[in-house]
Amino acid sequence: MSASAGNPRALNIGAADFAIASLAAAGVVLIFAACLIGSTPLSPVRTFAALVGAGTESERIIVLDIRLSRALAAYVVGFALAASGAALQGLLRNPLAEPGIIGVSASASLGATFVLYYGLAGLSPFMMPIGAIIGAVAATALIVAAAIRVRSAVTLILIGVGVSSFAGSVMSLLMNLAPNPFTLAEMVTWMLGSVANRSFVDIAFAMPFIGGGLGVLFASSRGLSALSLGEEAAASLGVDLGRLRALIALGAGLAAGGAVALAGAIGFIGVVAPHLVRPLVDQDPARTLLPAGLLGGAALVAADIIVRLLPTANELRLGVVAALVGAPAFIAIAIRTRPRHD
């Protein structure tokens, strides 16, 4: 009896591991595909040669410094936003929680806009990520603090929407008062979200924050499993709730803030990716982080490929495409979310 009951689970774990490996492989394939696309036609063989350091210098510059860096930026941003979304959903026990929805991305954009408005970006390349992260961590901390008092998940999402609107309005104010058209154009870029022309240097300045944030999220994710039984049960199971809240808020703020610093506000990837992978891991919020991140990264690289392939006069912004696809998906998830006792 017990032996036969153990078997389905063993198969299940195998299936989850296989799905995770497939998502990772899809990410690699998509990044390679992104390196094939551009105004200079290059065969897959020559692209591969350039990737491993062979080929001519101009080929290496095109493939590595222009295409690969852009694809990696998209991947890192998608991974960070989706993993943060998965962690926030686990913490707030709501499938609609996401950096974009609860105002984390908007606050990060606001932080970045402040840096632009006051011309601080010239001081140090770290100013931009730091501004975005201050905004992101402040918003995450506010939502998590509200979560301690507010029992209703719906109210919490509404508070996040309020935070998002407020950050948006302050950003509009700064744009309204922008000292020159150049600053205004830069601010608009942050609002729309894009990974065009991102170099390895840009990635390197955002990476410590994204990597650190993801590290904190993965290290503390185990508590999220216990939290699915409610806060009281989680506390009695051995979860230090205050610590868990602080760590998830910090981790999600760092990762999402770093992502916004790199690419501006890109919404909905953090709600759609965790939703899609949740059935693969038996709905366990802790195990959702990794596959959600892998799917989010791959999806954003794919979206960026589409952006580059579409024959539009002006290149579409990645954030715009993500929202065009993601917002209807978000609405569908919201409608299908089963009613809960809040």
Partner: protein, 258 residues
Amino acid sequence: MTSLSAEALSVYASPPPRGQPVVVKASVTLRPGEFVVILGPNGAGKTSLLRGLLGLAPYTEGMARIGEDAAAALSPAARARRVAYLPQARPLAWPAPVRDVVALGRYAWGGRIGRLGAADRAAVECALQACDLHPLADRSCLTLSGGELARVHCARVLAAETPLIVADEPTAALDPRRAFQIMDLLRAYVAAGGGALVVVHDVALAARYADRLIWMKEGGIVADGPTSATLSAARLGDVYGVRAEVDGERVAFIEARQ
């Protein structure tokens, strides 16, 4: 031996400046091998007493101990390895499979869901077996009936293999047969050397199973002793405000007292 005890424990609903405590200077003890049931009307402070005993209530006076240690000073993990707690509200944010919910009982031992060690897996299988949940082990909790779900939560608590269990209304909203099943599981746990402190609203069920009854009213403990010594028509009138007839373990409620 791990025991659970309170000495003049008062529990407040809010931080100072505070009003009346919801539990007033309660002193109780739970030892291994005892099945103790707390009885009292709604709002008598039963849940607050449990939370105070476990060190989960933020505003308290007096002393609550788990083993030799102050409950509030124990780390969450250390407490979880001594006492398993089944709260009254049992939300489930994600529709996890039965086995995963039961496996959460092993949290304090470091068991990661889906990557359990041998000892953790054995404890989970044992709890599933005890609660007759093997046929349902891979089903989503979303598809279970209320009685099945109650058994899942009971198994989660048993899987912790702690010396003590505290359960808040484990039989709420269950039909008589399902309620008996849950109480039988707890009795088997006590027979194996565990100590159980359980809040129950069914006086007859409590009288049938408990070694000791703790009667609460308006935040205070009005009686604490064996069923034969504390269960009487006068007690039911005093605590619940009802007219009732008592014959040994049998209780018949007649009407609300004016």
